[in-house]
């Protein structure tokens, strides 16, 4: 059951990602990105991370992608024009990407024993487990990260503000 769901949503995820690249219209690409993110949420849920799954849907598919579509609609962006990119991209693009993929998978596979494991199945990390880790064991790093994000927000506001 878990495996079947995993296959369905993994295929959906990859299909969405491919469609994102192939579509010519920005709004179709944005919608494909929503599909990718929502199917990622299902994959998280299958791995037992229920809070992460919900947060993925609320934050990424809900809030951030609404802003993406909002901007696309506001600018009324038209179809992407086909441009001739640099020759280097034509020649080295696919082989480069393939080489990078091969390298990364080689590293991950050879170092498999050193990573932690996550299994598809009945295991469930509850919200209280997660909050115990975040607010007790890792309190300082968590708060420092929040302050960092806050500084980034303030910086963005300061940059965007017009001087009168």
């Amino acid at each position: 059951m878990h495996l079947a769901l995993f296959i369905v949503f993994a295929v959906l995820c990859v299909a969405g990602a491919l469609n994102l690249l192939l579509q010519r219209h920005p709004i179709n690409s944005a919608l494909s990105l929503i599909v990718v993110m929502s199917s990622l949420a299902v994959l998280y849920l299958l791995l037992g991370a229920e809070f992460l799954a919900a947060a993925q849907v609320i934050v990424y598919s809900g809030a951030i992608m609404v802003l993406f579509t909002f901007v696309i609609m506001l600018l009324n962006a038209g179809k992407e024009e086909r441009t001739h990119g640099s020759k280097l991209a034509y020649i080295a693009g696919f082989p480069g990407a393939a080489a990078l993929l091969g390298l990364l998978s080689y590293i991950f596979l050879s170092r498999r024993g050193e990573f932690g494991q996550a299994r598809l199945g009945e295991y469930l990390a509850t919200t209280s487990d997660l909050s115990r880790v975040l607010f007790r064991d890792l309190l300082l790093p968590f708060e420092v990260t929040s302050v960092l994000i806050l500084i980034a927000i303030l910086g963005a506001v300061a940059l965007a503000r017009k001087e009168h």
Binding site: I27, V57, I58, G62, A63, V66, T69, F70, M73, T127
Partner: protein, 353 residues
């Protein structure tokens, strides 16, 4: 596992069908209730010709919408134009699946009054609400009409702004319960009736008013109905829709209203528990418990629908800048203050661990 899988699937399928049919019936009669009440508020009768007191009006309306010609303008972007009402309606129907309607009554371990009982029910509701805005946004954009586009832009901005206040207003309730499961949230409010409801006993009335206002904005209802403001934008995001596609937006709007009423009932007004707590017993046994829990739940949700319609009939629409200022400068800080005060009070009461 395999032997119990088929009855489990059948039982759940039956539950889903019953709930969806009931929800759509409720939607139809909420429309009638709205027309009747707004009629009385405006000193006229409302629908009164079809059936006794106009009670058959929803059926005739449904038939009318089915039989109308389904016009599709030339310049629309077809795939999204067709997809948009489907997204809107399916999100409205999905969110009812985590809502418990009545007491925890089981038969062979299968729950009667809830489709899906899970640990993060509240978060799922928030997630579905945040996806629902795509229905409106895409319908406005794909219609290729200036008014529709303006409505869609307004809807996106409004929903993003008020979602924050909505989510933050629920944190106080979650802190008090210590769980995101909707049945646990109701369970905490059960013991002393009215006195242990989050609204009275939990001192969450500030959170409740923030939730109420943010939820009105999320469902695009008056006084926050800027996306379809008929005096400015013809009909806003659904100007170019007709027949069943228009009806789907309509059903989505009223379905969301009912969901908001259910969530407010569950989170702040004790869900299906009676307001008298354990002082009065209305009979024991599973049947009586089931009937009374359903009765209280429906009565409370009906109260919220009544409030929705009353507000629509009496309040004028916000201006756009007022809407944004109200959401960001008033609701959001008050919601954050509510979280701070609530967690402080609860922290003082708990022993140090």
């Amino acid at each position: 596992m395999d032997t119990s899988l088929i009855p489990f699937l059948l039982f759940n399928l039956a539950k889903v069908i019953v709930v969806v049919v009931l929800l759509l019936m409720c939607v139809a009669y909420t429309v009638l209730l709205e027309r009747k009440l707004v009629g009385r508020i405006q000193n006229r009768w409302g629908p009164s010709r079809v059936g006794p007191f106009g009670l058959l009006q929803p059926l005739v309306d449904g038939l009318k919408l089915f039989l109308k010609e389904d016009l599709m303008p030339e310049a629309v972007y077809r795939p999204l134009y067709i997809l948009a009402p489907i997204i809107a309606l399916s999100c409205a129907l999905l969110s009812i699946s985590v809502i418990p309607f009545g007491a925890d009554i089981r038969w062979h371990g299968m729950q009667f009054f809830q489709i899906s009982d899970n640990n993060i029910g509240l978060l799922i509701l928030l997630g579905i609400t945040s996806i629902g805005v795509y229905g409106i946004a895409l319908s406005g954009w794909s219609s290729n009409n200036k008014y529709s586009l303006l409505g869609a832009l307004r809807a996106s901005a409004q929903v993003i702004s008020y979602e924050l206040a909505l989510g933050l207003s629920l944190v106080g309730v979650v802190i008090r319960t210590g769980s995101l499961r909707l049945r646990d949230i109701v369970g905490v409010q059960a013991p002393h009736g009215l006195l242990s409801w989050n609204f009275f006993g939990g001192f969450q009335f500030v959170a409740f008013f923030i939730y109420l206002m943010a939820a009105y904005a999320e469902t695009n209802r008056s006084p926050f109905d800027l996306p379809e403001a008929e005096s400015e934008l013809t009909a806003g995001y659904h100007t170019e829709y007709s027949s069943m596609k228009f009806a789907m937006f309509f059903m989505a709007e009223y379905g969301n209203m009912i969901t908001v009423g259910c969530v407010a009932t569950l989170l702040f007004f004790g869900g299906w528990t009676s307001p008298f707590g354990s002082f009065f017993h209305f009979g024991t046994g599973p049947v009586a418990t089931a009937l009374f829990s359903i009765f209280w739940f429906v009565a409370k949700v009906f109260g919220f629908l009544f409030l929705y319609i009353w507000v629509r009939g009496t309040l004028p629409r916000f201006r756009y800048d007022q809407l944004m200022g109200f959401g960001w400068k008033f609701l959001l800080p008050v919601a954050v203050a509510n979280i701070v005060v609530t967690s402080f009070c609860i922290g003082l009461r708990l022993p140090m661990q």
